[in-house]
């Protein structure tokens, strides 16, 4: 198999400023952190905390963890948000950088691809690093769904409905999940609940082992009713969840439907961020390398079944990288809905309890603050890589509103040549 990322050393050094010939440069994921995720709404822990302040905490924690990186070396701050108004507006990448105390010479921008916002902030800036435009980038995402409920301020073009471009259900993510159940009748509510319960249990085990907290930037949470608090753990998880506790939950999107609050991610507040770098520059400064970027793809599907998106995105990414699904030893897949994960696993013939998939649970447990989730997947995959040097490749993948999927393939820099190649065991 081709292994494009681990090209011989030397080909990825800084591009010559003159001439038109360029050498592609290696891109690495150095480190990632996030805020604890909260429940959206007036009772959530971030009810009185600003979205931009949450991004600030992430940027500062990232910088604190990289004392060797002079802040003026940051070439870009790319921050995603689905709703870019209010405390998520004003070009949040730039404003958050200034608020975080990065030098004024460091630029920033805002980015949006709904749920894959943070993922896109990584892939877009990674492409620019490979091209030679940047050496170091902070990329991440924010969604304060309490301050900005899904669909806030949207004004869909009436042609979507009048011209039957999409079914009206495409606008409601829960309905698209019900649609996905229709498309794959083999994915029952029982399987979805079983998957969801396992996500909660895996998260609980990881949290108890201290794995989750290690990547969290604490956030001081204001409350005019209770005084200041300190967010140090995710708020959404429900320890002790079993299939039985999920059984009777309501199906808000359809009478007698299959999608419940228990087998879907909730409405959440949270911010993520990571440091992406050109590999030689990172090594020059002595920065640790968590993952090496192999490739990425985004693909569109019918908006009515947006949850199917990870399948074509992954196939496309694998194809472009010259890899196959058997080469992938670890998966971080976003759990917007259990049905969407199961559709992916069924397609690739992966068992729904495969330990390589979301080893620490997923968004059903910890939450899915839309545009921030992509970097959480990456940070966790980098931790799995460190713990599994026998694995060479892993992917982060997610479904995206309005009918898309995104997949990023990563190589484990700690790979020791072991035999665990992925695929079914």
């Amino acid at each position: 198999m081709a292994a494009p990322a681990s090209a011989p050393a030397g080909t990825s050094s800084s591009p010559e400023p003159s001439g038109t010939q360029r050498a592609l440069r290696n891109v690495v994921f150095v480190d990632g952190v996030r805020t604890p995720f909260g429940k959206a709404g007036p009772k959530g822990m971030y009810a009185e905390t600003r979205a931009d302040d949450m991004v600030v905490k992430v940027i500062r924690e990232l910088m604190r963890r990289q004392p060797n990186l002079p802040p003026e070396r940051i070439d870009e701050v790319a921050v995603a948000a689905t709703t870019q108004i209010g405390d998520q507006g004003l070009t949040i990448g730039r404003t958050a950088a200034l608020l975080a105390g990065l030098p004024k010479s460091v630029p920033g921008f805002a980015i949006d691809r709904m749920c894959a916002g943070a993922m896109t902030s990584v892939t877009t800036t990674a492409g620019s690093i490979a091209f030679g435009a940047y050496d170091f980038v902070i990329a991440g995402g924010i969604e304060h769904m309490g301050n900005h409920p899904m669909g806030e301020g949207v004004d869909p073009n009436p042609r979507f409905v009048s011209d039957k471009l999409v079914d009206p259900s495409a606008m409601v993510m829960g309905s698209t999940a019900e649609n996905l159940h229709d498309r794959y009748p083999a994915i029952t509510k029982e399987r979805a609940d079983a998957y969801a319960a396992r996500s909660q249990q895996r998260y609980e085990a990881a949290a108890n082992a201290g794995r989750i907290a290690a990547d969290l930037a604490p956030v001081a949470t204001r409350s005019s009713e209770y005084g200041w608090g300190l967010a140090t753990a995710d708020e959404p998880p429900r320890p002790g969840t079993t299939v039985e506790t999920l059984y009777g939950l309501k199906t808000p999107f359809r009478p007698h439907g299959r999608v419940t609050p228990g087998n879907a991610a909730g409405l959440n507040d949270g911010a993520t961020g990571c440091l992406i770098a050109e590999e030689d520059s990172a090594r020059e400064l002595g920065l640790s390398v968590g993952m090496r970027l192999v490739g990425y793809s985004f693909a569109g599907v019918e908006p009515e079944v947006m949850g199917a998106g990870p399948v074509p995105a992954t196939e496309k990414a694998l194809h472009r990288a010259g890899l196959s699904i058997e080469d992938i030893g670890l998966f971080e897949i976003n759990e917007a809905f259990a049905v969407q994960v199961l559709a992916f696993l069924d397609h690739f013939g992966i068992a729904e309890d495969d330990p390589r998939v979301n080893p620490w649970g997923g968004a059903i447990a910890c939450g899915h603050p839309l545009a921030s989730s992509g970097v959480r997947l990456m940070t966790q995959l980098s931790r799995h890589f460190a713990e599994n040097p026998d694995v060479r490749y892993g992917i982060t993948t997610m479904c995206i509103g309005f009918g898309m999927g995104g997949t990023v393939i990563w190589e484990n820099p700690h790979y020791n040549g072991g035999t665990h190649k992925g695929g079914t065991q």
């Binding site: 600030v56 905490k57 500062r60 924690e61 608020l99 975080a100 105390g101 907290a213 930037a217 604490p218 956030v219 001081a220 204001r222 005019s224 009713e225 209770y226 005084g227 200041w228 608090g229 300190l230 140090t232 753990a233």
Partner: protein, 706 residues
């Protein structure tokens, strides 16, 4: 756990208007800390424009929050504030309600009892000073074992001595034992008496008031992380060794001489502050707090403090909402300013308009040379500001580009506000206004900086007298905050509103005065100075007359005031006053000789540095043989002030006595403990003796009768 509330349950004062600051205890997990931290938030429920203060109910809430915190047996207790504010001290607005000593004692004692729980806690306590920490707020922080401060904390100070109080909830005992007596004297006494100077977080940290300064962006998170390191022993907090011997003596001596120079004993609480710092040398909190409580009770029951609070309120509220000013919606925009005259005063005014309004300012004078000199003075001052780092290069370019000079008055055609600062002579001023009116629009404001001439008379020959206002600044223009805005008989509301709007943009405190000779400050100062000079003319030795007012603690003696104002100007104003009120404003031939001789000062120093009367002055001043004692001179001066102030109120020069006081505080620097002047005239009994009535009701600027 015994609590403050059950130790002291009697004589709880009622502060009916207390904006209650609540304290919330929340148990939080902090990474790296085993067990929980009790985080107490001080929050009065308003935004930063209404900072949190402690009244009786606020202290009770904090006490209850401490009960809850201690009951949880946390690993540590931390106290912080609402956004931008830690806490700004006692609720002084309620002090006016205190009429009995027992109530004052309760307030003094309760603050100690509540705050001290944090000091004597066996559980480590931390103050996370996230914003402004003044007075009792700073004492709360000092009561904790450890302190962090945010690098954007707006104000850190003990303003008590400024008001006629001292830090009486532990401040005089804790601070010198933390940072040494000398630095404590600087913070508690020197800064407070130096126009209430505040500290920034870096400076305060360097002085040792805080253990660490942390960046604002994640202040609370990092403060808690730091607290965790202290708890684990990873961070050892270093505190300086305190010199309780010679250094302490020297600090106290320095404090005594500072206080003598600033208050001369006229604000008793300031002397108590020094006594208490002296007492703190023993580092005995029981004795120190008991002494603080007694002294604070005395201070709360003193008229000096009540006058101080009255003064503070005037400068904070009345100065910002001038009594009698027309509706501000009537004000017209001012987008270009003209200054007639290019001398020193005109240059200072041009610079002020330039910096505050940031609109074109054009200067004119009688010849090009003077104009060039005026513009070059302004340029030079801009450069000086840039050298001090107060202006950036871009701002320098902007301001220099805005100032110009023109001999041709056509340059004033589009000015919206023209201020004259020419020679103090009615005919000259009438002439320049008459000339200017040919160029400017009918609505352009013509303002005069006259210190004593009639604004109405100046406007009388104009086609549009309704646009003329008096705009009387005090020297030095950039420093003194008062602006007397004079309404002439013909001045219309729109012009007056525009004048107030400009005054506010200039960041001056404006007081509306009627077109009476010399307005407020100069009239009262001239009357008062006239009595001193008359006493000297009669035969009172200079030193006796000049010492007579010392017990009031005025910023300078009368003869030094004469020197500062300039004898020629003082004589000129006095002539105006004499012309208007010959009975009360006498002329002094001696003063005229003094002016004619070109003398500027009565006092000079001999070779030993002793203050002596300039022999030439002594020779020209022909004294009578009827000397007065200090006491007689003082009584005479105070009676004259009381009489003049009453007449001014009867004439309607200002709306109320409060405006006279505001003018004296801001324009003459008369001290807070006098309340400007009328509270002092009331409490000394002079007002009733002279006028048969007080200026202010009991309780307004004095302790009310119970």
């Amino acid at each position: 756990m015994s609590t403050a509330s059950n130790r002291h349950s009697t004589s709880t004062p009622n502060f009916p208007d207390e904006v209650v600051t609540r304290a919330f205890t929340r148990l939080i997990n902090v990474p790296g800390v085993s067990g929980q931290v009790a985080l107490i938030t001080i929050d009065n429920g308003h935004d930063h424009t209404r900072p949190s203060t402690f009244g009786p109910a606020g202290l009770a809430s904090l006490n209850a929050a401490l009960d809850e915190a201690f009951a949880a047996e946390p690993t540590a207790i931390a106290v912080t504030g609402k956004p931008f504010v830690f806490a700004v001290g006692a609720d002084l607005s309620g002090v006016g309600e205190i009429s009995e000593r027992e109530q004052a004692h309760y307030v003094a004692q309760t603050g100690h009892d509540v705050f001290r729980r944090l000091t004597e806690s066996t559980i480590p306590t931390f103050a996370l000073v996230n914003g402004a920490a003044l007075g009792g707020g700073l004492e709360l922080a000092l009561s904790c074992h450890y302190r962090t401060v945010a690098d954007n904390a707006g104000a850190i100070a003990f303003p008590e001595c400024f008001l006629g109080l001292f830090p009486g909830w532990g401040g005089t005992q804790l601070l010198p034992n933390l940072i040494g007596a000398d630095a404590a004297v600087t913070v508690i006494v020197e800064n407070a008496l130096n126009q209430n100077k505040m500290l920034n977080p870096s400076k305060a940290t360097k002085m040792g008031m805080f253990d660490i300064e942390l960046e604002a962006a994640d202040f609370l998170e990092e403060s808690l992380r730091w607290a965790g390191r202290v708890l684990s022993g990873e961070v050892q907090v270093q505190r300086p060794e305190i010199d309780r011997g010679q250094a302490w003596d020297e600090a106290i001596n320095r404090a005594r001489s500072l206080v003598a120079g600033k208050t001369n004993g006229a604000s008793p609480a300031v002397d108590r502050a020094v006594d208490l710092i002296e007492l703190a040398r023993n580092n005995d909190l029981d004795a120190g707090y008991a002494a603080e409580t007694e002294a604070l009770t005395d201070a709360l029951m003193s008229d000096e403090l009540r006058a101080g609070l009255y003064s503070f309120d005037l400068t904070q509220k009345r100065a910002k909402k001038p009594a009698g000013a027309p509706d501000k919606s009537l004000a017209r925009e001012v987008n270009k300013v003209g200054v007639i005259g290019a001398g020193l005063m005109a240059g200072q005014l041009a610079l002020l308009f330039l910096r505050r309004l940031q609109v074109p300012v054009v200067l004119t004078d009688i010849d090009q040379e003077r104009i060039d000199k005026g513009v070059s003075y302004v340029h030079g001052e801009i450069d000086k500001l840039a050298d001090k780092g107060r202006l950036s290069d871009d701002e320098v370019n902007r301001l220099k580009g805005l100032v110009s000079g023109s001999l041709d008055k056509q340059a004033f055609a589009d000015a919206d506000f023209v201020l004259e600062a020419v020679f103090e002579e009615m005919s000259v001023k009438q002439k320049v206004f008459g000339e200017m009116e040919q160029y400017v629009s009918a609505e352009a404001i013509l303002a005069t900086n006259t210190s004593s001439l009639s604004v109405s008379e100046m406007a009388s020959a104009l086609s549009h007298p309704e646009r003329v206002v008096g705009f009387h600044f005090f020297n030095p223009v950039a420093v003194l905050p008062l602006l007397e805005i004079v309404r002439g008989t013909g001045t219309d509301d729109a012009s007056l509103a525009t004048a107030f709007s400009v005054g506010k943009q200039l960041k001056k405190s404006c007081v509306l005065v009627s077109d009476a000779p010399a307005f407020v400050v100069n009239r009262l100062l001239t009357r008062f100075l006239g009595e001193i000079i008359a006493a000297v003319d009669e035969g009172t030795p200079f030193d006796v007359a000049d010492r007579a007012l010392n017990p009031l603690g005025l910023p300078m003696s009368p003869m030094v005031l004469l020197q500062l104002v300039g004898p020629a100007i003082a004589a000129h104003v006095n002539e105006t006053m004499h012309a208007a009120y010959p009975d009360r404003f006498g002329l002094s031939e001696n003063l005229q000789r003094f002016v004619d001789a070109g003398k500027t000062a009565v006092w000079q120093s001999d070779e030993h540095g002793n203050q002596i009367v300039d022999p030439e002055v002594a020779a020209l001043w022909q004294q009578g043989d009827n000397p007065s004692t200090e006491e007689q001179v003082r009584e005479r001066a105070l009676r004259a002030l009381a009489e003049e102030a009453r007449i001014m109120l009867d004439e309607g020069v200002v709306m109320e006595a409060a405006d006279l006081d505001l003018c004296m505080i801001l324009g003459a620097g008369w001290p807070f403990w006098l309340g400007g002047i009328t509270p002092y005239l009331d409490r000394s009994g002079v007002a009733e003796q002279v006028n048969g009535a007080r200026f202010l009701a009991p309780g307004v600027a004095s302790v009310p009768t119970a």
